[in-house]
């Protein structure tokens, strides 16, 4: 490794390419039992009675009565029970587990359990939630949280404005569709409960086990197994199967494996939030945007989960990359009897950037301006105040990014010399992603720590950050090795085990490289000073940068510790017979500061773009009466190799002052900007307004023949 950006062989490569990596469902312990979950089949009901057959010896039912301490999953609010007690609020909610040695017998027991429901009228959409009356799903209100913040003076501008341009946008559910379903194995040895599984956040499961069991942390061990994709879907959700497997193992006194089937996984795990977003822009006599009023509404499903945090990111992104002096931003995440929505790569950002970018497009159309040039007029630059009036301290190079992506894609030429008879179009989006936890969350909530241990010449790094395919097991070693100026192979790093690893925080929010990487860099610097000692161990804790500040009540200050920036161009051709969209190419330019490993970076970029392409174009997921209609890989359509256009990506180097070696966060951003660039391209191709994603051929037909 010469420079930090030079690619090296991934440390997880050999095991994975040979099929030797042991994922949770491959992990077989002696005398292991299996567990299967009995779930609610109705969206909202009182449970009147559960009729169970006679249970053969050696088989167990595990339900809320088996939770020794408290029956809830700790996330932000403590509203979601581990097992339903006397009511259910969504289809797929866990009621009990059947546990035992033989799957056939478990299945038979499950099939013969009868649940008597007394149906309650469910709330099934944002609109229904807005009108909902008691009894409410959550506390005494139809929503989980409501936020509002502002900048400048909106009311004054409304009076002054000569023109108002308003839009309403809708986005659908999205399923993470990690190839490995949710999987856990738990083993109780009479004193300690160990949970092995597919996860992003080992310490979330530790917390959940502490709540459920009422035990001290020294009796709880959580180990991440190689994880077959996560994308946010294994952030908070694994706490449920993790606690379930643990309770099953404690009761049955056997190790227990709990692996979801695909249909079960799609039907009951968390999804991306559907949204309904309205934006009004107020323009003066010169056509200058003087103010904006924006409202984000999300469907949070039956329990709060991470919805409040997702909503925060959504309302902190909805202003886009634009410096508008007067703003009002509101957001509500509603409680419904749909599947619980939660974390998914982008975390509220994709919905917001789809809306703001399409809205800018529409303003340009109405003013008869080129949309990129209109956007450019308002681009944030260093020293500007964000929508929450936090100063941008680092240089912002949006013009460089945009110029580069336009040039690479030959955007100007394609945009202006477009043969309308051919249904061709090209679109451009510009966006950011706030890296790390919202506001001062890193110091107030997460308080991450890392540990380095040196024995003779060997160094081992200990963090709870997980390898979920994004390269943690490689990039973190590189950072430490580079600081210590030793070969990277001299640094050991294993899948996290909470017995050994301090809590470096969850593997979410594009924070691992930025926050954890920086902690490791600083920790390694300390170690370097003590390199002469034979054996050293250093634990290093996070400190909130002194130049940043955040008020979580008023939403004022630096919304994120750092930002990454990007622009996409998408070119399409719409088939005039079938209205199918043929994506001709996707161009992407990002400022992620210094890339820590170019090949890993390219993998994150291309994978994120394709997931964004699926989100915008084909991944239809709808709830009908609380049940998801597309719940298998035959009906929920993710892109195949044949659906992928050429993807061209480049980076601009603009080192961060916060991240290690100047790196910023990357994981989520490549997904964020695809939808608006694609929808703008389709909009140009078919000459009608796109207000909803995914944009499916059925919608294009409707648009063309309106």
């Amino acid at each position: 490794m010469k420079a930090i950006s030079d690619s090296i062989k991934r440390f997880d490569f050999d095991d994975k390419i040979q099929g030797k990596a042991i994922y949770t469902s491959d992990y077989h312990l002696e005398c292991m039992f299996y567990a299967k979950t009995l779930r609610s089949t109705v969206p909202r009901a009182k449970i009147k009675n559960i009729i169970t057959p006679e249970i053969p010896q050696g088989y167990f039912i595990v339900d809320h009565r088996d939770v020794p301490a408290q029956n809830y999953i700790p996330v932000v609010f403590d509203d979601q029970p581990i097992f339903a007690v006397d009511e259910v609020n969504y289809i797929g909610q866990p009621i009990l587990l059947v546990v035992g040695e033989k799957k056939e017998i478990i299945q038979k027991i499950i099939n013969s359990i009868h649940i008597d429901y007394e149906i309650i009228e469910p709330v099934l959409s944002i609109e229904e939630a807005e009108q909902a009356k008691a009894p409410y799903i959550f506390k005494n209100q139809p929503y989980f949280v409501k936020y509002e913040y502002s900048k400048g003076d909106l009311d004054k501008c409304i009076k002054k404005a000569k023109k108002v341009i308003s839009d309403e946008f809708r986005t659908g559910y999205q399923e993470q569709a990690y190839l490995e379903t949710q999987s856990m194995v738990a083993k109780y040895d009479g004193h300690t409960i160990s949970v092995y599984g597919s996860m992003q956040c080992p310490y979330y499961i530790v917390e959940a086990l502490k709540v459920a069991l009422g035990w001290e942390e020294d009796r709880i061990r959580v180990v991440q197994m190689p994880t077959g994709g996560a994308f946010g879907g294994k952030e908070d959700y694994p706490s449920i199967p993790g606690v379930h497997a643990a309770l099953a193992s404690i009761k049955s006194k056997h190790p227990v494996q709990l692996v979801f089937e695909r249909q079960e996984d799609i039907q009951c795990t968390t999804k991306r939030h559907p949204s309904l977003i309205t934006i009004e822009s107020y323009l003066d006599e010169n056509g200058t945007i003087i103010a904006r009023d924006m409202y984000v509404k999300l469907d949070g499903g039956a329990y709060a989960g991470l919805s409040s945090v997702v909503l925060q990111r959504s309302i902190l992104s909805i202003g886009g990359v634009y410096d508008i002096e007067n703003l009002r931003v509101r957001g509500t995440v509603y409680a419904t009897n749909n599947v619980v929505t939660g974390a998914f790569r982008g975390f509220g950002g994709p919905q917001a950037f789809f809306a703001i970018e399409m809205h800018m497009e529409n303003i340009a159309n109405q003013l008869n301006l080129d949309s990129v040039e209109l956007k450019r007029k308002y681009f944030f630059k260093q020293g500007d105040l964000s929508s929450t009036s936090g100063e941008f301290f680092d240089p912002i190079v949006l013009n460089v990014i945009t110029d580069k992506v336009l040039k690479m894609s030959d955007y100007r030429n394609k945009r202006t010399h477009n043969d309308a008879s051919k249904f061709k179009g090209v679109g451009c989006s510009v966006f950011f992603h706030g890296c790390g936890f919202t506001g001062a969350g890193e110091s107030d909530l997460i308080k991450p720590s890392v540990r380095l241990k040196k024995v003779k010449e060997e160094v081992e790094l200990f963090i709870s950050s997980t390898e979920i395919g994004q390269g943690t097991l490689t990039t973190m070693r590189k950072i430490v090795a580079k600081v210590l100026d030793i070969p990277v192979a001299q640094v050991a790093h294993h899948y996290p085990d909470t017995l050994e690893c301090p809590d470096s925080g969850p593997t979410v929010a594009s924070r691992t490289t930025l926050i954890v990487g920086r902690l490791l860099q600083d920790c390694a610097l300390k170690l370097k000073k003590r390199w002469d000692e034979e054996s050293v161990e250093i634990i290093h804790h996070y400190q909130y940068p002194s130049h940043l500040s955040w008020d979580s009540k008023t939403f004022q200050g630096n919304a994120y510790p750092d930002y990454s920036w990007g622009a996409n161009v998408v070119e399409v051709e719409v088939d005039p017979d079938t209205y199918q969209v043929d994506v001709k190419g996707i161009w992407a330019v990002f400022d992620i500061g210094t890339p820590i490993d170019r090949k890993i970076v390219q993998g994150q970029i291309e994978g994120g773009i394709v997931q964004g392409l699926g989100y915008s174009l084909m991944e239809v997921l709808e709830s009908r009466n609380g049940k998801l209609s597309q719940d298998t890989f035959t009906t929920y359509i993710i892109p195949s190799s044949l659906d992928i256009p050429p993807i061209m990506s480049e980076l601009v180097e603009n080192p961060s002052t916060i991240g290690p070696f100047g790196a910023r966060g990357l994981g989520e951003m490549p997904l964020v900007g695809v939808a608006p660039a694609l929808a703008s391209a389709i909009q140009q191709a078919i000459k009608c307004k796109i207000t909803k994603i995914p944009v499916i051929p059925e919608d294009i037909l409707r648009g063309i023949h309106k």
Partner: protein
């Protein structure tokens, strides 16, 4: 019922129910865990194996159908020179992320290259159409197979 077949170059005899999925036979009875279950309905290719040299989804094959046949999983394939070429190609091109789909892609690459040792980019894309990957966006896997074809020239 008793079923005899050749597995990774060894003769195997097992006693299983006729309609047990080959996927379960391999994973549960024979502990070959490179074969993954992703969707259980032939959509994702994570359970790909070679069946008399052809790529199949082992979730769609009943045990009875393998009687007298030859099955190759990654456990058997990874000792070959061809595997080394694919490994090198995938390493060069960053074709592996979470790794769950990887065994299926390696065998899909083998099936493609053994029937067409010099595929074009489009033929590679078509050759992996039945293997879903949610991490890479495919381009780096396609590049990996194209690189493997060069590295392993003459092997197929």
């Amino acid at each position: 019922m008793r079923i005899d077949f050749k597995l990774n170059n060894q003769v195997v005899s097992i006693d299983v129910e006729h309609s047990k999925r080959l996927l379960d036979v391999l994973r549960d009875d024979l502990n070959l865990t490179s074969v993954k279950e992703g969707c259980a309905e032939g959509e994702c290719g994570a359970c790909s194996v070679l069946f008399n040299g052809m790529l199949v989804n082992s979730c769609l094959i009943p045990a009875v159908n393998i009687s007298g046949c030859e099955i190759v999983t990654l456990e058997g394939y990874r000792g070959t020179k061809r595997f080394e070429a694919i490994k090198q190609g995938f390493e060069q091109c960053g074709s592996v992320q979470c790794g769950f789909c990887t065994p299926g892609f390696v065998l899909a690459a083998e099936a493609l290259l053994s029937s067409n040792p010099n595929p074009s980019k489009d033929e590679v894309i078509k050759g992996i159409e039945g293997n879903l990957c949610r991490c890479t966006g495919y381009q780096m896997i396609v590049d990996g197979i194209l690189a493997a074809k060069e590295v392993g020239k003459g092997l197929w």
